[in-house]
């Protein structure tokens, strides 16, 4: 077993060796510009790009012509929100999203608010989900777009996308889904789920960084989006700029592998995730699962370890790479806004740790992590005044703290 152990796969994933192998020729001898129509260098890269488009389309049940290559999910989300708002300005100016969305969505929405749009940020329940009924109730005659994530990047909660897609269809409102966490992890079908626009990131599915995709529906309805990046009219005008051929080839190969292995991977990861959860619960009291226990990503476990601050936890876990919702890990000094929106108190938000499992995670690693986490939590609780007070039966909520 190699140390440190990587358990931050909701942040990024290791490039699958098969992906790298497929990319290598396009970083060396096959360097043509895919837009060069006049010679063989361009033809071979264009062919490779189109092959990738087919693989990615197949993974989400789309037509290859509906896939636009971008630099990643952040750019895709920007095009979806800003492009729709600008294109459909005559139809309306209202957008529905949720409080727990990724910053790419929230910050794009805030930008649009400064440019004439009104945005509804739906609150989530204690597990981090919005319901189709909430979306329906928020619709107005000015609504042009519903934008929600398929699964949350921090707590792994999966939204009821098909039910929301149905409501969007009935209302004639476009539905954008941020599928950065789910593409290649759990099944997506843009037809059966009623999705009109979908954002994908390659590096979360064992592909390279710097490349992503945007699915844009071509019929029922034909979605039009104003471009954000202007230039040579690449990607049917949706996204100008010379195509990142090696990245796109890697993305396509990653999609192919996911299509073949996703089902087996999901079963294996769910087993490992539950093994981790049970292993920790068996040896530690006062730990709390964040997110939906059932409707959650197979590879995500987010736990609050009461009375132990998250950053200190991570410092103690030098051999394990995880992330935390603790304020100390962010520049803002505010704990996770996702946990906050779920109604989880700040004192518990500071103690949260996100474990992100991946294709290369082994059972041996999980068993090692259980043992390490238990040891660190016990050590830090031993020096935690809060744990001591709680054990003495003091209600921490009744204490007059000197907030600073």
């Amino acid at each position: 077993m190699k140390l440190p152990i990587y358990l931050d796969n909701n942040s990024t994933t290791q490039v699958d060796p098969r992906v790298l192998e497929a990319m290598m020729p396009f970083l060396t001898e096959k360097f043509g510009n895919a837009a060069s129509r006049s010679h063989a260098f361009g033809w071979e890269t264009e062919e490779a790009v189109e092959k990738s488009r087919v693989s990615i389309a197949k993974l989400i049940g789309a037509n290859p012509k509906e896939i636009v290559f971008t630099s990643g999910a952040t750019e895709s989300i920007n095009i979806a929100l800003k492009g729709a708002a600008e294109m459909y300005v005559e139809k309306g100016n209202h957008i529905i999203t949720a409080e727990t969305e990724h910053k790419a969505t929230l910050d794009s929405a805030k930008y649009l608010e400064q440019h004439g749009c009104t945005v509804t940020y739906l609150p989530v329940d204690k597990n981090g989900a919005v319901t189709a009924e909430q979306v329906k109730a928020a619709l107005t005659d000015k609504t042009i777009l519903i934008s929600l994530m398929h699964a949350n990047n921090e707590v792994g909660t999966v939204h009821p996308i098909a039910a929301i897609g149905k409501i969007a269809k009935e209302a004639g409102v476009l539905f954008h889904v941020d599928a950065a966490q789910t593409t290649g992890k759990i099944p997506i079908n843009v037809e059966t789920m009623g999705i009109d626009i979908l954002s994908i990131s390659a590096h979360k599915m064992y592909g390279p960084k710097g490349v992503g995709g945007l699915y844009v529906r071509r019929s029922n309805p034909r979605v039009r989006l104003s471009p954000v990046v202007h230039g040579g009219g690449h990607e049917r005008g949706f996204r100008s700029g010379t195509l990142n051929v090696p990245g796109i080839v890697g993305f396509g190969t990653a999609a192919e592998i996911c299509l073949n292995e996703m089902a087996a991977d999901a079963v294996r990861l769910t087993t490992l995730r539950d093994r981790l959860h049970k292993g920790l619960s068996a040896q530690l009291d006062e730990i709390f699962l964040n997110g939906d226990p059932i409707q959650r990503l197979p590879n995500n476990l987010n736990i609050s370890f009461a009375f132990v601050e998250g950053e200190a936890m991570m410092m103690g876990l030098q051999e394990v790479a995880v992330s935390s919702g603790s304020a100390c890990t962010s520049a803002s000094l505010e704990p996770s806004y996702v946990l906050k929106a779920m109604g989880i108190g700040e004192e518990l938000a500071h103690t949260s740790i996100r474990f992100g499992l991946g294709r290369f995670t082994t059972e041996e690693e999980i068993d090692f992590v259980i043992q390490k986490v238990v040891a660190v939590v016990l050590k830090l609780r031993d020096m935690s005044p809060l744990y001591e007070m709680a054990k003495e039966g003091i209600d921490l909520k009744s204490v007059q703290w000197t907030a600073h």
Partner: protein
């Protein structure tokens, strides 16, 4: 975040972790911070009749820098008089541990904890 070697040393080998017996009139206790803010420090000083700090113990809920700041504070106050301990400034802790700007509040908390513990000791002495 990258930690300085002294923070890592105090985090891995914290000095003087623990608590004194409750109700000991020679012990002053300072509890500062709040769970919602992500750090709570409890510092206890055992002070003799000559106003010398004979022993110190701490427990801290917080990040590595908060733990290191309180651990260092216990080391520093031991053997000092109450007046000397009151002279310890948070900037001394920042310098000793090479804390980055985002962690300065940890050192402030440690300074506040020393003051609160001494205040508590004085209060107990007045009452008894």
């Amino acid at each position: 975040m990258a930690y300085g070697p002294k923070v890592i040393d105090h985090f891995n080998n914290p000095r003087n972790v623990g608590s004194f017996e409750k109700g000991d009139l020679t012990v002053g206790t300072g509890v500062v911070g709040a769970p919602e803010c992500g750090d709570v420090m409890k510092l206890q000083l055992k002070i003799n009749t000559d106003n010398i700090i004979e022993d110190a113990k701490f427990k801290t809920f917080g990040c590595g820098s908060a733990i290191a700041s309180s651990s260092l504070a216990t080391e520093w106050v031991k053997g000092k008089s109450v007046d000397e301990a009151l002279q310890i400034k948070n900037t001394d802790i920042v310098n000793e541990l090479s804390l980055p700007p985002v962690k300065i509040h940890c050192s402030v908390l440690a300074e506040d904890a020393i003051k609160a513990a001494i205040e508590d000791y004085k209060k107990k002495q007045r009452i008894s």
